[in-house]
Every structure is written in C-alpha cells, then in structure tokens.
C-alpha cells in the first residue's frame, strides 16, 4: 500500500542569497498559499466542498477542480507548481508528478518515483539569461535597423509618390506631344503618299513600254528562227516543226492545226505574223534553248510542306500532353525549334523578275518621303516614351499598393531575393513575389508559391507570409509556402522544411519584425530569479 502522507513540505526559495522558509503544501504556488491553512478545513478552490485538511495531498481526489491534490497525481485535472529557484517557476499537469520523467528543473515533481533527477535550474537560468540577453541585443539592434527601414521606406514612398505625381504631370505633356506629332505625321504622309503613287504609276507605264519592246524583239527573233528558208515568210510546214505549239496536245501539230494558228493562211509575212504571235508565244520553245529542261513543279511542294506541318502538329502535341507529362515540355521545345528552323531552310527562292528594279525616287518625292519618315520616327519615339512612362507609373503604383506593414517596414524586401542552399536544393525567396526551389546539381526550378497574403495570427498578421498556387503536386495540392518571420539583425532565410507534402515552411529573419524592446530593467539578472 502506498499512502503518501507528505502533506507539507518546506520550500526553500533562494532570494538574494538568504534562504527563506515558506511553508505550504507540496505543489502549491505562493500566490495560493493563503488557501491552504493547516489549522483549518480545506475548501476546494471552486467552493464545491470542504474537507479536513489532512485530505489535502493525501493521494485521493476529493475536489472536482483538483485543488485538494496540488502535490499528487490523484486528480485528473490538477496542476503542480514547481518553484524552480534560479529559473522560471512553472505549472505542470498533475499527471506528470512521479511519472518517472523529470519535468521540473528543481526535481520537485519526482519525489517518489525513483527517477534520478538533477537540479538543472541554475544551468537553465544561466542559459536562458544568455539567450534572453542575446535576444534582447538582437531585438534592440534590430529595432534600430527597423527604424531606419521605416524611415527609408517612408522617404522612398514619398519619393515614389511625388515621382508618380511628377510623372503623371509629364505624362500629360507627353500625351499632348504625341497628339501633336501624330498630326504632323499625318500631314506629312499625305503628300508622300501622292508622290509615291505618281512615281509608281510612271514606273508602271515605263515597264509596260519596255515589255512591249521586248515582245516585239522576241517576235522578230522568232520569225527569223521560224523562217527556215529565209524567204521572209513563215510557212505552215515551218511552223509544224514546232510540235510544242500543238493546240490539242496530242503530240503532233497537224497541217490544219498549223494553218489554224496562222489564221487560215499558207504563209505569213512579218506583219501578219503579229497576229499569229500572241497564239504561240506562251508555248514556243526557242530553238537555241530547246534542250533546256522544263521547270519542275517545285513551288507547290515548297508551299505545301509547312502547311502540312502546321496542320498535323496539334495532334501529336495533344497526345503527348495527355500521356506523358514529364516529356511534354521537352517535346514542345523540339517542335518550337522545328518551327523556327523550317522557314529559314525552306524559304522559297525569290522569283527573279527580269525587269530592272524601280528607279530611285526623284529628288522631290524623296524629300517628301524623308520628311514623312522623320515625322513618323518622331511620333513613334514619343509614343514609346509615353508607353514607358505608363509602365513606370503602373509599376510604382503597384508597389505602392502592397501592404508593406503598418510602418512600411517591409518595403525594403520588395524586388529583392534571398537564397538558402541545403544539401539538395537552393531555395529562393523573393518577398511579395514568389518562392522557388531548384536542385543544387542541375534541373529545373519548381515554383513553391506566388505571393498570396500576410497570414499571421490576428494580433500580428505580419509574422507569417503565405505564398500560394505553386507548381501542382502529383495527386496532391498546388505547392504553397508559409514564411515565418522572426526578428534578426540580418535579412536571411534560416531554414526550410516540408512539414506536409507540398506545404513548405521557410524561416526568415528580418529587422522589420523586431519589436520595441521592453526597456525597463537595464540588468536582466535579478527579475528572472523571482
């Protein structure tokens, strides 16, 4: 039988080097000492009943609230107070009394379990003070840095704000300038167009005259060629020697057919040949180049091939994306390469026109063109400047729209990136933008989430950042990352982990979350011990 009549214990509180005895039942904190008076019956702290004092800590639970057994494990809902002199006092659940595990650094929770506990309070206290001190220093310095950050951010913000204002003003002017230049351009383009048309028309006419001239020469040449006996007439028989002129394409040019071509005449002279020439000129093979092979039907091929390719391409692509996700991207790359490569290889050769190139514009026309071109260039330049300015304004406005914290202290993180290299990966955090992961030894980058929102607890949402909708996981959700911010002098990613599949956790220190140090006591050594 194990009845523990350990009602009262002497608790030594070491304070300022003088031991002071404070008598109270085991497990009772000083603040509740007055409820446990040995001379009186004990009333449960919830007032539910009153019991003789010798039932306090008698290892049987009498009070529903567990208050009669502060020093035993009898009550399921009780708690035990350890003084932990030298360190921090604490409450532990009653179930941890005498369970063989040392919970209180002053060993008072294991008074009857046989567990060998060592008093580690002093050591813990020392370590804690060190940590606290370090923390305090960090917080202090961090907080100072934070003030700078705030100042810079405010300055930056103001600058940006006024820049936007300036730019918007400038933009108005630019707008006007663009409009003015547009008018100038349009005004200059009208005479240019007319002059160009004139020039072109003249050139067309000239070309027609040249073509006529050439045709005539060819006709004369042909006549001479056909007129084998050089009698100044082309006869039916002479024409028949050119089988290619066969109108019904049966391979022979009969006498009747030849006569038909010659308008029923037996022979024609040079002037009558003028009426025959149009009927034969397209088919006629000059005798001097008769053996030259006829051009093959290559152009259709050249045109057809890319068309076929374009048509058939979507099908294989679809198949691939359905079956193999992994290879998809690679395959796509190949296709793209093909597309790019084909035109350069297979561009049909430009058909050479026999005609000479258009003669240069005359000076007047050229002057008009130059004037119009200048107006165009001026206009485009102005328009480009306007677009750029629009972009700049939008970017600044976007930046200004981010929630960079109550004092804009997170502004400095914008458009920065921070990396952490682990044994396998390089993690990259670009605050307010995205988080990514890249294998250290080659491989493509994985998006672990793009900026979502601040998602810390209600009292300080700026302690956590949430990045969402990263690359999807196989059979799982899209990757996401929570970034936990802690106070530090430097801005660094200190660790990453994947506590749950595809849900990443990143620890990140920044001065921006350092709180103002509660600067009351310059020497933290004393109040810890109380």
């Amino acid at each position: 039988m194990t009845c523990l009549h350990l009602l009262l214990t002497l608790v030594f509180a070491v304070s300022l080097g003088t031991p002071v005895e404070i008598q109270r039942p085991r497990g009772v904190p000083l603040t509740k000492k007055q409820f446990y008076e040995e001379s009186k019956p004990f009333t449960c702290l919830d007032g539910s009943r009153t019991i003789p004092f010798d039932r306090v800590n008698d290892d049987y639970c009498d009070c529903k609230d567990g208050s009669d057994e502060p020093g035993t494990a009898a009550c399921p809902n009780g708690s035990f107070h350890c003084t932990n002199a030298g360190y921090r006092p604490m409450f532990i659940p009653s179930s941890r009394i005498n369970d063989g595990i040392c919970d209180c650094c002053d060993t008072t929770d294991e008074y009857n379990s046989g567990a060998k506990c060592e008093n580690t309070c002093k050591e813990l206290g020392r370590k804690e003070r060190e940590v606290l001190q370090k923390m305090a220093e960090i917080t202090k310095e961090g907080f100072l840095l934070k003030q700078q950050l705030i100042e810079e951010a405010k300055k930056g913000q103001q600058e940006k704000q006024s820049k936007v204002t300036d730019m918007q003003e400038n933009k108005k002017q630019l707008d006007e300038k663009v409009e003015a230049l547009r008018t100038v351009k349009e005004t200059a383009e009208q005479p240019e167009k007319e002059a160009k048309e004139r020039h072109l028309k003249a050139w067309e006419e000239q070309k027609a005259a040249i073509r006529l001239e050439k045709d005539k020469a060819k006709m004369a040449e042909t006549f001479l060629e056909l007129d084998d006996n050089a009698d100044g007439f082309v006869s039916v028989s002479e024409l028949q020697s050119h089988a290619e002129l066969d109108p019904d394409a049966d391979g022979t040019l009969t006498e009747i057919e030849a006569q038909g071509l010659m308008g029923g005449a037996e022979q024609v002279d040079t002037s009558t040949f003028e009426s025959v020439w149009p009927k034969i000129k397209d088919k006629y093979h000059s005798e001097s180049q008769a053996e030259e092979p006829a051009p093959v039907e290559t152009p259709p091929d050249e045109v057809k091939e890319p068309v076929v390719d374009n048509d058939s391409e979507p099908y294989p692509e679809d198949d691939i994306s359905e079956e193999e996700d992994e290879d998809d991207e690679d395959e796509d790359d190949y296709h793209e390469d093909d597309d790019k490569a084909q035109p350069t290889i297979k561009t049909p050769e430009k058909t050479h026109e026999d005609e000479e190139a258009m003669p240069p514009y005359d000076a007047d026309t050229q002057a008009l063109i130059d004037a119009a071109q200048k107006a165009r260039d001026d206009f485009e330049e102005a328009e480009k400047a306007l677009r750029e300015m629009d972009d700049q304004i939008r970017n600044i406005e976007k930046e200004l729209s981010f929630d960079f914290g109550p004092d804009a202290e997170f502004t400095y993180l914008y458009s920065q990136c921070y990396e952490l290299t682990t044994s396998e990966y390089i993690y990259r955090l670009c605050p307010f933008n995205r988080v990514s992961q890249k294998p250290k030894y080659g491989g493509s980058e994985t998006n672990l989430g793009t900026w979502g929102s601040w998602s810390g607890p209600e009292n300080n949402k700026y302690l956590l950042m949430k990045y969402e909708q990263g690359t999807g996981c196989w059979q799982g959700p899209n990757r996401s990352t929570t970034v936990k911010l802690t106070c530090g002098k430097e801005t660094v990613v200190t660790s990453t982990s994947e506590p749950s599949r595809c849900e990443y956790l990143m620890e990140f220190t920044t001065p921006a979350v350092c709180q103002e140090p509660a600067n009351i006591d310059p020497s933290p050594h004393d109040h810890v011990e109380l």
Partner: protein, 886 residues
C-alpha cells in the same frame, strides 16, 4: 484468360460425385483411419485419412495415393502434431462405414458410392462433406507433348482414362495481362464441398472488406484468399486483400462450428444458402426438410485437402479448438495496446522530436511514434537515412527519456545493391527466392530492383532474426520495435502486384506457399526481437500480410484504407472477422490512410479506434499533416478525451489480451459470441463487445445525432459508462450522441478495473492505483478479473511472475481472491476507489484486510443514479481483501 485458374473448378456443378470409397482398402489404427477413393471417370486413386483430434475435432486429409511427386503440405502453422484420440468403427455394410467420434453420441458416416462423409450427433447431421459431389482433385500428370509423358504413360492403365481429360488451354501455361505462368506441374487444383444443415450464418475467412456475416456468392465471385497488395481497396467486395485465414465459422442457435482448410495456395470459397436436401441417403437420420442450410465450397490451386472440422458446440469451444491447433494471440507488451502515432513519414529526427513535444504540449498520451520507409537510407532496411536520421540512438534515447517507444519499418524486399550488406549476405548465403530458371528472383518495389529473401527457409529466418541484434542493426535500441509491410509479398511489376507463381522456394513453387510468406516474415522478425533481448522481452511486430497462426507473432492492421466514412464503418466487421479466427490484435489506420479526413471523421475515428485492439493513426505521404492538435482546440480536446479513455481502460485491455493469450478467446467479439441464442445478434456488425463486459457502438455516420444500439440479454442490465445510466437488456435503444463521445456500456454483473490517472505514456502509469467499476447485475452481483505483471517481459510465463485475481461482488460483499496461487509478483499499485453501479445506500462499509484488520471506509452515494463510491480502500492490488456493505 480467366483471372484464376482455380476458378475453372467452379464450372463443376453439384451432382453425383465420381468418387467412390474402396471400403476394402480400409486401414484402422488406434487413431487413424485410412482408405482409398477412386475417381470412376479417370481411375485415379486418392488416399483419405481421418483423425479424431483431442477437443472435439475431426481432421480429414485427402491426397493422391501415388502422386508423381510430393504435393505441398503446409508446415509451421500447426503448433505441433495435434493430439489424436481413438477411433472405432461401430458399424459397416457394403456401402457405408460408421465411425464413433466419442463424446455425445457423435459419429462419422462414410458412404462409399458416391463418396461422402456425414458428421452426426444423435439423429442430427452437423456437417456433410462431398454431399454435393464437388470433391475434385487434379492429379499430377506429365505433359503429353513431352518425351517424359511417353515414358511415364507406361506406368499403368490409369493413363488410358486420362485421354478423357484432354489438355485444355491454360492447363500448362497461363497468361495474366503480360505475365506468364509457366505452370511446370500443370493443373493441380483441389476442391471440396461442405454442407451445414440448420445453418444460416457463417463468418470468418478474412481478409475481406465485407460484412461480418458472409454473403451468398451465387452469381458473384467467390471470396478469394490470396495475399495481395491492393491499391485503394473497394468495400463490400469478396476480392482478396493483404492476408488470408482459411477458417470459416458457422453459427446457429444450436451450435457453433468451424472449418479450417489448411492450404496456403490461392484459395476461393463459395457460399450458398439452400434448404436441406437430405433424406433418402441417410434413412436413419432425421432431417426436417424445411431446414435452412448453408453450403460452402473450398477450392485451392495446389497442395492437398487437409481440413480440420471443429465441432464446438459453443463459440468459446470453437475458439479453444482452433487455438489448440494454431496457437493463441501473442501477449503484447502493455505499451503496444496504447496509442500509436504514425505517418508516412515523419521526416527527420527534428520532426520526431517536434511531434513528441506536441503530444506533451497538448497533454495527449501516446506510447509509440512510427517511422515509415523514408527513414531508411534509400529504402535499405536496417539502415538510417544519414541526413534525416543521423543520430538514431539520440532520437531513441530522447523517446526513452519520456518512457516512449518507436517502430521502424523493415520490409521483406531487399534492394539489389552490391554496397548493401544485407543484400550481399543474402545473396552469398543463397537465401533469395529463385525464379523459375534458378536465378535470384528480382522484382520492383520501393527501393527499385529488389530481391525477396526466402522466408520459408528456416536457415534464412534464423539469419534474418540475427539481424535485429543490437550490434547488427546499427542505431537500434531496446525501445525500437518493428513493422513488416509489403509482405504479401508486394512486387510492383509482378502479376497482381505479387510474386510470380512459378518462382521457387527450394523445391516448392511460390504457388504452393504464397499465403504463408507474410506469416514467416513476421515470425522471423518477432524471433529477432526476442533474441536481441536474450529471450527476456516480449516482441511487438505489426504485419500487413498474415495467415492462420499469425496471431502468435504480433499485430495485424487492415492495410491501406481511406479517409471515408465507409472505411471507418467496415473496420468493425474486418477486425471482428479476424478476431473470430484467432487474430485478436487488429486495427485499422485511424483517420484513413489515403485521402484527407474531415475533422468530424477524424474525431469519430479516434473514438472508434480507442475501442479497437490495435490503435494507430496513420496517413499517406501525400496527405496534409493530421497530428491530433491540427484541427482546432475543440477537436484536439475531443481526440485527447478519446485517447484518454483508451489509457484509462488499459488494465482491462491487458487482462483481455492475457486471457486471449491463455485461452484463445477473442478480445473484440461479435455480440453473438456471448449471446449465441439471441438470433437478433447474428448479423450485428455496427456494435461489438470488448471481452464480454463492454459493449461499444461507434458512431460511423457523418452528422449523426444518435445511434440505435441493441443491448442483448433478457433480464440483464447495461450501464452507460459516460452517464452511469442503467438500461435493460434485450432491447434496441436510441441513444442521442454529441461529438464528445460514442456510446459504451458496461454489462451489469461485471467488474472492470481502470487506471483513471492517465499519464503521457502507459509506462508512466505502471505503478498507478486502480479504480474498480462494479456494475451490478439484476441479481445484485458482479464479477471481474485483474491481471498485473511487469508489462513487458516473459517473466509472467517463465517465472510465473504475475498477479491474477478474481474480483466478485455478491450479497453486499466485494472481495479479491487469488486466481493463481502459485504465481508471484509484487506491485506498487493499489486500489484507490471503488464505484458501484446499481446498488443501494449502505449504512457502513468495512474493509477487511488479509491480516484480519478491519477499517471503516468512507463512501458517497448518488441516489439519482444509484452510484456508490467507496473512498480510498488503499489496499495493495495484489492483496486479499473483502469489503462488506451493511
């Protein structure tokens, strides 16, 4: 091609059996009767052996009289050679033989033509074999297109008759998907039918995700027993799952019986309900023509027919009979009965530490944290990932300091890697399973290309066990235990995700031993844990694949379930079915393995799991984290409460497992086991008993606001353990439920010992005092047991170091009496409180100690609920004492 070669047999329809018993070949020794059977179609002879076994069992063995080569007979499953009893022929004529089975006028009638067996008691037929003529035995033969056929065809005239058995496609080679089974022995399947007159309810033959009461399989697939790694299994389906126990239990108000079909090959079981069609064959047996009847047909792909018929008559008798054949549940260390926290995977040592601290921060008890496959270095079991678990001993020590433990997974597929010691040793010792061509069998599993140790080889098992020694398994410590997964065996690129049937285990084909492989893996592992402690510590090994006899080696879980209400619901019949066939230590993954449970489902699953034998939460690697505190403070509190209820009841669970270990009685029981005459209980599977004294009705429906519980027992009473409210038995009762708990009732007439001081692990509670919950029956009396030992060694068995006491209350006197006077154990635990339900207010309560001293006890009486609480008797839990109420 059909899914299974065996199913060809299903084409055989009931009718006249071609088999005839040759009565003139009868041989009878003291305990063995044998005679030959002949198949009149092909003249092949079989040898029938009959044994009468101690404890009201009959063994029927049928093999080929002269097989071309030996057929596989399952070793290592029976505890030893079953003890036989004398048989005698009491009557014989030209067509029948009557053998006395002793006992209550039990006889076995053997009819010669057609061959059939009937077991009768008095004038009642209990069971008939081959009464539907479905005995089939594909004898070994030589392939006709080979030269050897021509040689052996000279053996005798039986070959002439073989011509009838034309070779059919699939007989000598089968293809399933892209896998080819070379089937060097040709068709070898066997089949036999059993008729159970008067029976409408049959149970058992796990593992299936199906109802407790087996369904009629007419018009559907038979129940299949073939250990398979099934991905996302379907519910209410007779398909094979991870384990197989070929034991069927029949029950009627008259009698409970069992059929144990000892065969480790792929097996199918057909069940059909009929009405009895006896009569003319057995003139002297009276059978009501109206009687219902269940017909059962077993088919196996190879091996022999070796059947144990367990004749009951009561459920407890069948459990005892089966336990005498295959052994009882191993007695786990107490902590294994507590709560287990598992996940695929706890990522690294830091993660383990954080989760461990999380339990303390949220004041939730747990005993075991588990590490899945990612803990090992590249899935090389027996190793640790050097970057994630660089200091395993440091981690284990950290857990030990909290009196907690760890389980690491060790699967039976071994990475083929010449830099891996385990692989090199197995290869050099020639311990791998071989492929049909004699090379090491290789398949794909978690590590990639892997070999499979031949666990059927005892030398291999001895070597395997030695690998768990602390100096072999680097980084292991005594608080590390083992989990065997994938031991069906799972082969990702094998037929049906398992091993090719023509792979070779020594001279035997995988086909012959398949369902036994997982048992051997767990056996060898458990042996290893025993040996590493020099036989002192009880092992704890969890397995996914199992067979008859696996109960001797540890715990079983229902595999890769899903976070769905249906899966929570089915966990009850699945574990009940296992309990009926010896495997008491069963549980389902709390929360569901695949998918993400809602908070409500998770809470309900914890509440249910807290009242199932093996209580472990587990989750797939792709699911979000789900430690108990991740679902908000309210749900954390609900889960904490569920787990605390488990811990408070650990003394009861422990005593039940001791009882299961000693006697073979299941821990988790269908109601009909304790109320065998109450027809209303026969199909109940949404509630169950733990032992015989606690009735649990888990809530398994989303948004449930109440459940209807059936409280059995005419004239009995039940007490709601949460409200202390008393209810009469023999009624269906609607019980409103909130999220805070599930209905649990204590049987009037029982005494349950609890430890109400729940601490952070069961080890921390070892010396804590007990509270006795005395629930008075309608006669004002109650009984219970208390079992205590050191909770983790074999001393209870080897040195009789335990306390086993009978607690009884009658005539206003509660006493504790020693049930094992020759045992010895001293415990620090004492009796802190006694709560009596259903009593009246006494004027005094006097405690009489063993030394004769008397002292008055204080008490409180709650008159509205009639609950009497005796304050602090303070007696040691191992002492004799009496309390008298006046």
């Amino acid at each position: 091609c059909d899914m299974s070669e065996v199913l060809r047999q299903r084409e055989l329809k009931p009718g006249q059996s071609p088999y005839r018993a040759l009565l003139d070949t009868l041989e009878l020794s003291n305990s063995r009767l044998s005679l030959q059977l002949i198949n009149d179609n092909n003249k092949v002879r079989l040898l029938l052996e009959l044994y009468r076994l101690q404890g009201n069992m009959t063994r029927v063995k049928i093999n080929e009289l002269k097989p071309l080569k030996p057929r596989y007979e399952v070793p290592d499953v029976l505890l030893s050679h079953p003890i036989t009893e004398a048989l005698s022929v009491v009557a014989q004529d030209e067509n029948s033989l009557v053998v006395s089975l002793g006992g209550k006028d039990q006889r076995l009638i053997l009819s010669a033509q057609p061959f059939r067996l009937d077991i009768v008691e008095g004038s009642q037929v209990l069971m008939s074999l081959n009464s539907r003529g479905l005995l089939a035995f594909e004898h070994l033969r030589t392939r006709k297109d080979t030269i050897s056929h021509k040689i052996s065809s000279t053996v005798g005239s039986m070959w002439d008759s073989l011509k009838k058995d034309d070779d059919k496609p699939g007989m000598w080679e089968e293809t399933f998907k892209s896998h080819t089974d070379s089937k060097p022995n040709g068709p070898t399947s066997i089949s036999l039918d059993f008729s159970l007159p008067g029976v409408e309810h049959v149970y058992g033959i796990p593992e299936h995700a199906d109802t407790l009461k087996l369904k009629n399989t007419d018009g559907s697939d038979p129940y299949r027993l073939y250990n398979l790694d099934v991905f996302q299994y379907e519910l209410h389906n007779p398909m094979a799952l991870y384990g197989a126990v070929p034991v069927l239990i029949s029950h009627s108000t008259d009698r409970t019986m069992g059929i144990f079909w000892l065969n480790a090959a792929e097996t199918w079981v057909d069940i059909s309900s009929n009405t009895t069609m006896f009569g003319k064959i057995l003139d002297f047996v009276q059978v009501s023509s109206e009687a219902p009847q269940t017909d059962v047909r077993w088919m196996s792909e190879s091996g022999i027919i070796d059947v144990f018929i367990m004749l009951g008559p009561k459920p407890a008798d069948v459990f005892t009979q089966y336990a005498s054949l295959t052994g009882t549940q191993s007695f786990p260390p107490l902590s294994a009965l507590a709560y287990h926290q598992c996940r695929w995977n706890y990522n690294d040592q830091e993660d383990v530490k954080t989760v461990d601290q999380g339990f303390d921060e949220h004041d939730i008890p747990y005993d075991f944290i588990w590490l899945d496959i990612e803990h090992a270095d590249g899935k090389r079991y027996f190793t640790w990932d050097p970057s994630k678990f660089p200091q395993p001993k440091e981690m284990l020590q950290g857990l030990m300091d909290k009196r907690r433990k760890l389980v690491a997974i060790v699967d039976p597929h071994i990475k083929v890697d010449s830099g891996y010691k385990i692989h090199n040793e197995i290869r050099s010792k020639n311990f791998y399973v071989k492929n049909k061509d004699g090379g090491d069998y290789e398949g794909w599993c978690w590590p990639g290309n892997a070999g499979y140790p031949d666990f059927t080889n005892p030398e291999m098992r001895t070597w395997w066990a030695s690998q768990f020694a602390y100096d072999q398994y680097e980084g292991s410590m005594e608080n590390q235990y083992i989990w065997n997964d994938m031991n069906e065996p799972s082969v990702f690129n094998g037929p049906e995700v398992t091993m090719h049937k023509d792979a070779l285990h020594g001279v035997w084909e995988h086909r012959d031993v398949h369902n036994l492989y997982g048992l051997y893996v767990q056996k060898a592992t458990a042996d290893g844990l025993i040996q590493r402690s020099e036989g002192v510590q009880r092992p704890f090994v969890l397995t996914r694949a199992f067979f008859a006899g696996s109960q001797r080696y540890g715990a079983v879980w229902t595999g890769d379930n899903a976070a769905e209400w249906g899966h929570l619901k089915i966990s009850i019949p699945m574990c009940l079915s296992l309990g009926l066939v010896g495997i008491s230590f069963c549980g389902a993954d709390v929360g569901g393995f695949f998918k993400h449970p809602s908070a409500e489902l998770l809470v309900r699953w914890y509440q249910a799991g807290a009242y199932q034998p093996f209580f472990r939460a587990h989750a797939h690697i792709d699911t979000p984290r789900r430690e108990p505190w991740l679902f908000g403070p309210e749900n954390t509190a609900l889960i904490r409460e569920a787990i605390r209820q488990r811990y408070a009841l650990l003394p009861y669970w422990y005593q039940l497992f001791y009882n299961a270990h000693r006697t073979g009685q299941p821990v988790m029981r269908p109601l009909w086991v304790e109320y065998p005459d109450d027809f209303a209980t026969f199909s109940i599977e949404d509630e169950y008993l733990i032992g015989k004294d606690l009735l649990v009705h888990p809530v398994t429906d989303e948004g449930a606001t109440g459940v209807t519980a059936y409280l059995p027992g005419k004239g009995e009473v039940w007490y709601d353990v949460h409200t202390f409210q008393k209810h009469d038995g023999d009624q269906s009762l609607y019980i409103p439920v909130t999220m805070s708990s599930i209905p649990v009732f204590q049987r009037g007439g029982s005494i349950i010992c609890r430890k109400d001081r729940v601490r952070r692990s069961s080890s921390c509670m070892e010396n804590d005092p007990y509270t006795l919950y005395v629930a008075l029956g309608s006669q004002g009396s109650a009984e219970g047991e208390l079992y205590i030992d050191d909770f983790h060694t074999f001393s209870f068995e080897e040195a009789k170091q335990f306390v086993h006491r009978r607690l009884s209350f009658s005539a206003n006197t509660l006493s504790s009496r020693n049930l094992a006077p020759d045992s010895q154990f001293s415990t620090a635990s004492w009796i802190e409180k006694i709560v009596i339900f259903g009593g009246s207010q006494p004027s005094s309560a006097t405690l009489k100690s063993a030394d004769g001293t008397e002292s008055a006890l204080e008490f409180e009486f709650d008159s509205t609920l009639a609950v009497l609480t005796l304050r602090k008797p303070g007696v040691n839990a191992a002492a004799d004492w009496t309390i008298v109420l006046r």
